[in-house]
């Protein structure tokens, strides 16, 4: 199990004003999988290129088990990656593809055969050694690509949205497979994705990458329910923020006056609530503010309501059993105190 320590990585491209990565730091240990979430262009792919050695950072360091790898060429680092496209060598068979990394190390033929066989069992596709990549489906190709990466016993596995081009069913299956294999082999893994659900399902810890640096880093459930700051909160789906003066367990904000859990909080603060904790009623309730329903969308698992609330527009998610509210209907928007949490400015 390798300890991966990324410290203060900065990379700026010539014709861009802001650096793509700005003092990015991350610690991966104990064979954990860290999901890296962020909007497009936030530097996720650049990070992978820096770690694998395809590009060099301006400043900062990447260390495996305490030793810097920045001066090693990509072929010696032990960091492998998987892309959206499998990049299986089309002119080689499945077993030649998987065995590529071993052949490079001059591993004897029979050992390569054994390892390839083991890998195929691991990824759940035994017996396809002789096939060509063009004969495999998208999901199968990605599995083989994973096997090819893992057979070299890498120190770090980097996955750059490897599942985004797959159908939902295949994608879910592969999510499980990758998770299981990764946990069994205990390989440190950084998993880049823009899909929140996927990140939460697969990772031990989640990092949100905004503006080239880590805005939030924690376990998925913590990050989901208690994001530390406004930007990362928006990223996990929070869109109602109340900023105002807090005193004696109450918050006075532009939206209205609500009760908060922390009676000791005094002074300025910003509070937020997850959309699925917002409740709508036709009559006034405790901690409920008047608002108007501006739109509703049927999302299958829940109803999503667009609400106008004290000058803000926000979205609430309600289970179907909570009743229906019509467009333009005045409602009372309840923000239960136990679900209101403070975020950094």
């Amino acid at each position: 199990m390798t300890q991966v320590n990324i410290t203060n990585l900065t990379k700026r491209y010539p014709n861009q004003p802001a650096p793509v990565l700005d003092n990015f730091s991350l610690f991966v240990e104990n064979g954990e999988m860290v999901a890296l979430l962020g909007p497009s262009g936030s530097g996720k792919s650049t990070l992978l290129k820096l770690i694998t050695g395809i590009e060099r950072p301006d400043t900062g360091d990447v260390q495996f088990d305490g030793v810097s790898i920045l001066n090693l060429p990509p072929s010696k680092r032990g960091a492998v990656f998987m892309f959206q496209k499998s990049y299986l060598f089309p002119f080689l068979s499945v077993e030649e593809n998987i065995g590529f990394g071993l052949k490079v190390k001059r591993t004897p033929r029979d050992e390569i055969c054994r390892e390839v066989g083991r890998m195929l069992e691991l990824i759940g596709l035994p017996g396809i050694e002789k096939r060509k990549p063009s004969q495999l489906s998208g999901g199968e190709q990605q599995r083989v690509a994973l096997a090819r990466a893992l057979v070299t016993h890498p120190k770090l596995l980097l996955l750059d949205e490897p599942l985004s081009s797959l159908d939902t069913e295949v994608r879910l299956g592969l999510q499980e497979a990758i998770r299981n294999i990764q946990q069994e082999l205990k390989i440190a893994t950084i998993f880049v994705t823009h899909d929140l659900g996927e990140a939460m399902a697969m990772s031990n810890r989640m990092a949100i990458l905004l503006n080239g640096r880590v805005a939030a880093l924690d376990q998925p459930n913590v990050l989901f329910h208690r994001p530390p700051c406004v930007e990362s909160a928006r990223f996990v789906g929070v869109n109602l923020f109340l900023s105002g003066e807090a005193a004696n367990g109450w918050l006075d904000s532009a939206v209205g006056r609500v009760k908060i859990r922390d009676a000791k909080k005094a002074g300025r603060g910003v509070f937020a609530i997850r959309p699925e904790h917002i409740r709508l009623f036709k009559e006034p309730k405790e901690n409920a503010l008047p608002g108007v329903v501006q739109g509703c969308l049927y999302r299958g698992e829940y109803m999503e309501y667009q609400l106008a609330l004290g000058g803000q527009t926000t979205r609430a998610r309600l289970p179907l059993s909570a009743g229906m509210f019509a467009h333009g209907e005045p409602v009372f928007v309840q923000l239960p105190a136990e679900n209101l949490f403070e975020v950094a400015g």
């Binding site: 050695g53 590009e55 060429p73 990509p74």
Partner: protein, 284 residues
């Protein structure tokens, strides 16, 4: 490692560019120098525009033939190109573009010009195959009665030879353009009431003509500057310019080299101009 492997593009281009720039540059420079009287291998070489003056004024052994050869070269090149372009159009519209057709045309392209000309020689000369068949049919009784089709003073054989190679080339060019033409245009035109001929004239032809023009210009440039075929199928007078140039270049009288070089450079300039026009047309 990236820096080491994917080095500056100029480093990668260096070997190829060096060879081309050096060899091309040197040959043109030397040619120019010789045409101006320098480096002629004589004891006194000095800058002189004599070669060019002679050429353009029609004086001197080379000069006497120059304008005639220029005219002859232009005639042969123009006739070959125009006839080829016309026939290629017909051929392209008539052929379906099936794989067998394109294969046949392509195999003609791979046939070297020289060998094609030799084949024509054996076929059409006065003691060639067609002459023999004509004799066996009783149409003629001796070789001299067979019409002079190659090694004739009108360049007929040369033109025929070039047509045989340019028509497949241009036809394939047109066919490839036609293949990229989306059916939509034709269907819309038909829908709007255009007849087959009108569709060809207003939809297909405008699509094809630029590529055909560009290709024809290239063919013209090639024919104008090429040596092998006119050397083989031509006569002593009139000669096409490249043949004339080489004759003087190889003249034991070293001062004649300047004439040869001058003619060669005139050919080069004309060829480059035509090629440049072709490139511009092709970009449009």
């Amino acid at each position: 490692m990236r820096d080491r492997l994917i080095f500056s593009p100029w480093l990668a281009l260096a070997p190829a560019l060096t060879i081309i720039v050096l060899l091309l540059g040197a040959s043109l420079a030397y040619g120019l120098a010789q045409s101006l009287g320098l480096m002629s291998g004589l004891n006194e070489s000095s800058f002189s525009l004599r070669a060019y003056a002679d050429l353009f004024s029609g004086q001197g052994i080379a000069g006497r033939e120059f304008w005639g050869s220029l005219g002859f070269s232009l005639w042969v090149s123009l006739a070959s190109t125009l006839i080829s372009a016309f026939l290629a159009l017909l051929l392209a519209f008539w052929l379906s573009g099936s794989r067998f057709d394109t294969l046949a045309l392509n195999s003609n392209l791979a046939f070297p010009h020289l060998v094609w000309a030799i084949g024509l020689l054996l076929l059409l000369s006065q003691s060639g195959l067609l002459a023999r068949w004509a004799a066996s049919l009783g149409w003629i009784s001796m070789p001299a009665e067979f019409p002079v089709l190659v090694r004739d003073k009108y360049g007929f054989g040369i033109i025929l030879s070039y047509i045989g190679k340019e028509v497949p080339f241009l036809a394939l060019l047109i066919i490839s353009v036609l293949k990229t033409q989306p059916d939509g245009y034709n269907l819309v035109a038909e829908n709007l009431g255009a007849s087959r001929w009108q569709r060809i004239r207003y939809v297909t032809l405008p699509l094809v003509l630029p590529a055909l023009l560009s290709g024809s210009l290239l063919a013209f440039a090639f024919i104008f500057s090429s040596y092998e075929v006119p050397a083989l199928l031509g006569v002593n007078y009139p000669r096409m310019l490249p043949v004339l140039a080489l004759r003087f270049f190889n003249d034991p009288d070293l001062s004649a080299r300047a004439d040869g070089m001058a003619i060669s450079l005139v050919i080069t300039v004309i060829t480059l101009v035509v090629a440049w026009i072709s490139l511009r047309k092709g970009e449009q």
